[in-house]
């Protein structure tokens, strides 16, 4: 059934239907509407979960880690500073191969303090071993939670996953969303059956320390699992499409790429604006297209190479910056296209909630055509003086 819902509420509803047994979360703007909605569901017996009101994000993820190791499906949500506080636990959760699913309501990282959207927070955790999905709209933000649990808990994967969607732009926006029914979700997402768990009937030790003789092999196996999850994502995404009509089999989405001359590459809600701008440019006879990255970890280098090999320029919109280097998406795209000769230009854009309009997208395409890039887009003039 199609309903007009706030993004946060749609996500909270999806999470409820995933039936997490333990939820641990700490309030932070703009994630609060999700965890408030879940608390209400628990209070009204609409969700049968233990809800731990922890004293910090650090403990939120630590509690999820413990509950997951004890064999429960778990959930948390955070953003920005909260995710930064979880940094250590994030690496640990992935290393312990615990399938925690967490919503990241993307927000800028301080300093300076900003409660508004960009994608610096989750990008900063790109090396942690968590799968990372980025939603373009609230329908996708909702659906990707079901897919994320399916993939994370698959015994071929056993890794935690972020479902990332843009703070305010999606989380606080009302859009039509088609919610699945509980029966549909139960059919798609089976009851969680942990491969290993802390259990006195079969005692195991989890989290031993590894000497130099073993450490590298552990990291290799985690890396193999992250890379190998791509196949599982395809399967889970395809099955979702077969069951409910929205297909998430591909880690990327190509929009008007068939004969595109200039390709925009981006992640998240900015892609909606880009699609509108591309439609207008197409009417003006300009051959622009969009390659949207939905799965950033594992990175779909093969799909990116395939989609971009024929274009004459690539303009990457990065809502993050690896200070002293480039945006993270541009670095990945360049790596994927290495040796192809296709120029990849980077545009650091929409940081800390700065709005992006269709004219900005068009202007980026113009700049890319002129070979001008690798810059912060739309800077206030006083900093350039």
């Amino acid at each position: 059934m199609m309903e007009i819902m706030e993004g946060s509420h749609a996500v909270a509803n999806a999470v409820r239907m995933c039936r997490p047994q333990v939820i641990a979360a700490y309030p932070i703007t703009p994630q609060t509407h999700i965890v408030e909605a879940l608390a209400e569901m628990v209070a009204d017996c609409r969700l049968d979960a233990e809800y731990i009101t922890v004293e910090s994000e650090f403990s939120a993820l630590s509690a999820c880690l413990g509950a997951s190791a004890a064999g429960s499906r778990v959930y948390s949500a955070t953003t920005s500073q909260g995710l930064a506080l979880m940094f250590e636990v994030c690496f640990n959760t992935a290393g312990l191969r615990l399938p925690v699913v967490m919503s990241i309501v993307n927000r800028a990282l301080g300093a300076p303090l900003s409660i508004w959207n960009d994608q610096q927070d989750s990008i900063a955790l790109r090396d942690s071993g968590w799968l990372q999905f980025y939603a373009e709209d609230n329908q996708e933000a909702t659906d990707l939670h079901y897919v994320a649990y399916r993939v994370a808990e698959d015994r071929r994967v056993l890794l935690p996953a972020f479902v990332c969607f843009d703070g305010y732009i999606l989380s606080h926006t009302y859009e039509p969303v088609e919610m699945l029914t509980e029966e549909q979700v139960d059919r798609y997402l089976p009851k969680y059956r942990p491969v290993h768990r802390l259990d006195s009937a079969d005692p195991i030790s989890i989290g031993l320390f590894a000497s130099p003789d073993y450490y590298t092999e552990f990291r290799y196996q985690i890396d193999q699992a992250v890379k190998g999850s791509m196949q599982v994502i395809r399967e889970a995404g395809r099955q979702f499409g077969e069951m409910f009509g929205r297909d998430y089999a591909s880690p990327v989405e190509e929009y008007r790429m068939d004969d595109a001359d200039c390709a925009i590459v981006a992640m998240g809600s900015i892609c909606g604006t880009a699609k509108d701008a591309i439609d207008e440019m197409r009417k003006e006879g300009r051959k622009a297209g969009l390659l949207r990255i939905r799965t950033f970890r594992p990175f779909p280098a093969e799909e990116v190479r395939k989609a971009l090999s024929g274009v004459s320029s690539v303009a990457v919109l990065d809502k993050n910056i690896s200070l002293g280097s480039k945006g993270a998406v541009a670095l990945e795209v360049r790596d994927a296209l290495y040796g192809s000769g296709v120029p990849v230009l980077d545009y650091i854009i929409a940081l800390g909630g700065r709005d992006v309009a269709k004219k900005d997208i068009k202007s980026v395409v113009d700049m890319a055509a002129a070979g001008k890039g690798d810059l912060f887009y739309g800077l206030r003039e006083e900093v350039l003086r």
């Binding site: 047994q21 004293e55 630590s62 259990d199 005692p203 031993l208 320390f209």
Partner: protein, 297 residues
Amino acid sequence: MTGEQCSLFESGHRACGGCAAALAARTILDAAGRDTIVVSATGCMEVFSTPYPETAWNVPWIHSLFENNSAVASGISAALKKQGRKEKVIAIGGDGASFDIGMLCLSGAFERGHDFVYICYDNEAYMNTGIQRSGATPYDASTTTSPAGKCSTGNPRPKKDLPAILAAHGAPYVATATVAYLPDLKKKIRKALDTEGPCYVQVHAPCCTGWGFESEKTIAIARLAVETGLFVSYEMENGQVTRVKKVVRKPVEEYLKEQRRFRHLFRPQRNDAEIAKIQAIADRNAEKFAIDIVLKK
């Protein structure tokens, strides 16, 4: 040992000879039994008991990070509740993990009232990293980050009163114990496990490497800590002290002079002023907990 006599904490681990923490681990599991899930903080006990691919733990055991064992235990406790399982949850950490870096998680877990037992094995400094001072290091102890020197007599601050802090959270049962009296330690662990809600047991665990004494003297040193009044063994139920080990007190000097960490108080010359300050700490403990046995003439 055979059959039922077999310890849930295996021998063959890599603790130093004379390690009180290893003795504590074995005693804790003897008291707790098989239906126990243990969450260890990073530290000596975690490192010496689980070098991959070996483990000394015959109960389900997890180590995540240095400072989050009580938060991990919160999650495990919640998961067991939801799954209708009856295992007990014990979080174990050294004094660094408990008094210092893990204090936030520990406070949160106690305030929320999870059903678990937190055990701090207190060896009074960061031993795993090489004997640096912690919030549990006693006054005047020389450590690698509070070294005694020409213008220092060692650690400048007294020990943090963590049992009182946790009792103030409303913990139903808080106790201190020591490897000097293992039956008492066992009884307290059992009592903590049988009490619903978050309980705390702090185990005084002398470290021969860090404190500087011969490894066969661990128990003797632990006893002296009690007998001098520098360590008080007691129980608190719902915030009230209900039981205290009474002693015929010895002067603190007898405890101090046995340990390298206090050597600067005796050599090159005796520092009577500082020894008197430490004696005053013991005297205050004795008064506060009424530990003195008055002998009849």
